[in-house]
């Protein structure tokens, strides 16, 4: 049993697609935001995988750094969306 860059990218593709599916499938706009962290998680997985397996000269922490940033951006986007939805609904 082995894990290669192709495997990691395959899983990352699945996460991005599942996130996109959640965003378009839920009728509730606020809950469609739940797809964002999944998509960001998929993108972060791709970055970490490339950094782990493929980047020769760049440090391995580069992909981890981007994954951390994407996680924070995902949380910020959901918080912003829930806040805007609350403001919109209270009008």
């Amino acid at each position: 049993m082995n894990v290669s860059l192709v495997t990691v990218l395959f899983v990352a593709s699945g996460l991005v697609a599942v996130g996109a599916f959640v965003s378009v499938w839920r009728r509730d706009l606020t809950h469609a935001l739940a797809g964002l962290p999944l998509m960001f998680g998929g993108a972060g997985t791709a970055f970490v995988g490339v950094s782990q397996f493929a980047a020769v000269s760049s440090p391995q922490v580069l992909g981890q750094e981007v994954a951390v940033l994407l996680s924070i951006v995902g949380l910020a986007a959901v918080a912003l969306g829930v806040g805007l939805a609350g403001r919109e609904a209270s009008r």
């Binding site: 990218l9 378009v24 972060g44 782990q52």
Partner: protein, 169 residues
């Protein structure tokens, strides 16, 4: 990567994808938030098995925060008047997106060029794609990451604008 890490990676991958699908299909706000937290555990496990422990911890906190926001009292339901046909088209588009990305990951010879799992075959058309790919993922890796992040943000923004337009009468 040893067998233990590989098993952890595959289990985490299954957990994250299953959790994500559960977010789409489960009924009830609390259950969906719990499914999102489970997906977060899976993503954190993926990061950890790829030797990115810090990113795993941050992802776990991020997904837990998202789950709490979606299950919390500040949540408000906003339902646009969208026909079921558009949702089905969106679902098919998500499946097509997965097929394209998976095909790209499987057929992308840039992976073979760097990892040594198979011989380098890219660039046979004389376009120099191998050299460009090598340059992007070695010397200019930071620039490539920045461009990738920019494209991702643009796609997310476009999705947000599209969903916003739906709500207009």
């Amino acid at each position: 990567m040893d067998s233990l890490h590989a098993i952890g990676f595959y289990m985490s991958a299954g957990l994250s994808v299953a959790g994500g699908l559960a977010v789409a299909f489960l009924q009830g706000r609390g259950r969906r938030a719990l499914a999102l937290a489970v997906a977060g555990v899976g993503v954190a496990g993926i990061y950890t098995s790829l030797s990115a422990g810090l990113a795993g911890v941050v992802a776990l906190i991020s997904f837990a925060g998202c789950a709490l926001l979606l299950a919390g009292p500040s949540y408000r339901v906003i339902e646009p008047a969208v026909s079921g046909r558009w949702r089905q088209i969106g679902a098919v588009a998500a499946a097509v997106l997965f097929a394209v990305l998976a095909w790209s990951a499987f057929r992308g010879n840039f992976a073979a060029a760097f990892t040594g799992y198979s011989p380098i075959t890219l660039g046979g058309d004389g376009s120099g794609a191998t050299q460009v790919g090598r340059q992007l993922f070695t010397h200019d890796a930071l620039s490539t990451d920045a461009v990738g992040a920019l494209v991702l943000v643009a796609l997310v923004g476009a999705t947000a604008v599209w969903r916003g337009r739906e709500r207009r009468p």
